[in-house]
């Protein structure tokens, strides 16, 4: 799968045949490549498609078996001022028609054919008459009934009692059909429940969680950018004693896994009175060794001449940093910003520990989602609507700034 010039041969015929082979191989190769890529893409996308669709379902639709993707609801019609549910059923004359459920729980029997007991049908007892004779099915003696299907009558064995629904046509009151309601085919329409979103926002202050998350994210991103730019500049451009030792020690802290800090940080939050406040999610997280490292690497690459010219003008470092270095460093800043954005938006274990009260007003999205997910009472449709709300902003930012996300990954790889 490369674009290369083929080696020249003397015989053009030979070359042509080579090219044909090459083309064939490339087509097969490309087909295979696309097949694999599409298969993986489908696996990556399906859960999100499922998410979006489930967010638009009714609660009962989410529990349906077999599961379906599209949100559907039963079609209904107005009959004498009341909503009736519509079903798609086969009537006595063999045609399939749209009927409504007129009566539930009609006493019925499960009848089996005498010659083949595996073929059964549920039919109301009002259309069947005991013949008085019996037959043996699976070693048990069961009564034989004369069962009416429209104009026809058949002798069938009654296996056990059951219940069916009486279905009628909206247009012709004489058209009637019987079937087990649970397994009858419902007439359905795709019907997205957009109200799920407004419901989830009203329920449990979800809008407040969204606002809190936005606020925390803005402050973490802004704060980290500020400290990283300051530190990166000092480590790249100011010569002071012990600089390299401090730098190595600071960068070494990248290796400290966060889990080892959870307990003491929580105790610190207790001491400061920051438990159950958004501040506990912001202030400890605006000092980031990785960010400082990233900014330093970028600043090192900026030519010295720019700075020296400014020094001659008598500008102080502070001014030089913000007037000259920062405007030149947008790629690095954007990369760091996306990194911190994802981190702040999605962090879970720390909010779980530090925002552990019962007051939903200081929840962030991850905690609100987790709380919601633990509630048996709420249907999955509402939980999924909440998930949609929580991923829509990262996805939008990703679409707008894809380059920086990928760059962020690439730079962390070089690290």
């Amino acid at each position: 799968m490369t674009t290369t010039a083929e080696p020249r041969t003397d015989s053009t015929r030979q070359a042509r045949s080579d090219r044909r082979k090459h083309l064939l191989r490339m087509t097969v190769g490309r087909g295979g490549a696309y097949f694999i890529l599409v298969a993986f893409a489908a696996a990556m996308l399906f859960p999100f498609v499922f998410m979006a669709a489930t967010a638009l379902k009714t609660p009962e639709d989410t529990f349906r078996y077999p599961p379906t993707v599209l949100p559907r609801t039963s079609s209904t019609a107005q009959l004498a001022g009341e909503d009736v549910e519509l079903y798609s059923l086969e009537t006595a004359d063999g045609s399939t028609e749209t009927l409504y459920l007129a009566e539930e729980g009609v006493a019925a029997g499960l009848f089996a054919r005498l010659d083949d007991p595996a073929v059964t049908i549920a039919w109301p007892l009002e259309r069947a008459f005991d013949t008085g004779s019996t037959t043996t099915v699976a070693g048990e003696e069961v009564p034989v009934f004369a069962v009416q299907f429209g104009d026809e009558t058949a002798e069938l064995a009654l296996l056990r009692s059951t219940a069916v629904g009486r279905f009628k046509s909206l247009d012709d009151p004489d058209v009637e059909a019987f079937a087990i309601v649970r397994t009858a085919t419902r007439a359905e329409t795709v019907d997205p429940q957009w109200s799920n979103f407004s419901e989830i926002i009203e329920l449990r202050d979800f809008d407040r969680s969204l606002t809190n998350t936005i606020l925390v994210t803005i402050l973490v991103v802004g704060g980290t950018l500020f400290t990283s730019i300051m530190g990166g500049y000092a480590f790249s451009r100011i010569r002071f004693k012990g600089r390299d030792q401090i730098f190595v020690a600071y960068i070494g802290s990248i290796m400290i896994p966060f889990v080892v800090l959870i307990i003491p940080l929580f105790r610190l939050m207790v001491s400061l009175g920051w438990v159950n406040t958004l501040g506990s999610l912001v202030w400890p997280f605006i000092f980031n060794a990785y960010g400082t490292f990233l900014m330093r690497q970028f600043f090192v690459s900026i030519p010295k001449e720019l700075e020296e010219a400014a020094f001659i003008d008598g500008a102080r470092r502070w001014k030089i940093l913000w007037r000259i270095f920062v405007p030149l460093s947008w790629p690095a800043i954007a990369t760091l910003a996306t990194f911190m954005f994802l981190y702040a938006w999605n962090s879970f274990i720390w909010p779980l520990v530090s925002i552990n009260g019962a007051n939903s007003e200081d929840f962030v999205l991850t905690i609100a989602l987790q709380t919601l997910g633990g509630q048996a009472g709420e249907g999955p449709n509402l939980i999924f609507a909440a998930i949609v709300l929580s991923v829509i902003i990262p996805f939008t930012v990703f679409v707008l700034a894809q380059r920086y996300f990928v760059e962020n990954v690439a730079t962390s790889g070089i690290k």
């Binding site: 609660p59 549920a122 056990r160 019962a358 009472g377």
Partner: protein
Amino acid sequence: MKRKLVLLFAILALVAAACGDSDDGDTTTAAPGTTAAAPATTEAMADVSLRWSTRPDNAEEAEVYRTIGEGLAEELGITLTYEPGDNETASYQQKLLTNLSAGTAPDVFWIPGTDIADFASRDVILDLREYADGSGHSDADFYPGPMAQLTTEVATGQPGNVLWGLPRDVSTFALYVNLDLVAEAGAPNPVELEAAGNWDLAAFNEVVDAVGGLGGEIRGYGQSNWWGPFGAWINAAGGGFFNAERTACALDSAESIAGIAALTDLYTTGSVIPYGDDPEPPFRAGTVGMFQNGRWATPGIRTVDFNWDVVGLPSGPAGPGNWLFWGAYVVNADTANPAAAWELVAALTQADVQAQVSASGANIPSRVSQDALDAFLGFTPPANNQAFLDGLSQNPTTEGPLWSGSWPEFSNLMGTEVQAVVTGATSIEDYTANICTATASAFGG
């Protein structure tokens, strides 16, 4: 220009941050600090501000509590802040303990009956006896089972002159029945069987088999995997978790084993929702015949689109056996306003508040009064509310803590062992031999 603007914005935002809400600083900095030495009867009630919390079973119930809180704030003349907890079964109490250690817990909060001893022995809840004595409160107004636990001394594990709190409500198990499935399967209606006095294990198994026989995704029965559901089987067989003094394991008694054996039998041969899977979603989807749960499940079930009702648990070899579940409002030992907190506890458990909560469908009043019970019967659907009252009146075992030992540890260990035997990972013989040694460390003291 642009940068200065941003800077200005940032600074002003920080200032507004601190001050946007003048109450905020007070609630965070004035966390419950010192324990008041004596009951401050002269507290200026208008300045008193209390936070309280419960574990609501659903969003509607959280709204009910919020409304109740607003009413009581007016009645008591204090500022009340309601904080609904999430309803994860175990983490609610653990979060409370963490907040108690951080000094950020509410002044008044609800805890399940099983956790009273744990909280009391950690010294994080207040003995309310001296406040109660002067207030016209009588222990006899409530179900005696919960009150016996609420008046137990930590040191001795014996009844004493203490009061740890007042029960919010009580509950018990019933079976939620999908009547459409039962009719389709041609099985006898359990509600009618119960009315005729024929609702025993054999009849129960018959219905499970009949409904399960419909095939496909249909299952006959489902129950959850925490201690209550399997405990009900032990109770119905005449067994129990502990000995009568609640000081040692009784899970290996012949009766207790009979209960677990019956449950294991059902799960290995019957058509059931796999043990450990939440049976509520499939029940609500209409694919489960019977579903064992407490009154708290009723509001959720009310939204389903099939015909349903409730029926009592089938009576076991030792007759009917069920749970009396309960939880209590208790007071944070570090509260700044203990007297006001007691008044709130008393107000939250008064008859009309309990009626308000019960109307939402999830609870049964904890006061023993015919009026309350009569009112409860009217909160339909389900039509057969009597099933819950029967569960409470026919020899239920009261949910209760371990005064000499650790209930959370016991329930964890026991749950793991029972799960193993019910899912077939261990044999009933091994279970019998090991269950009391496996849970012994919970009594370690």
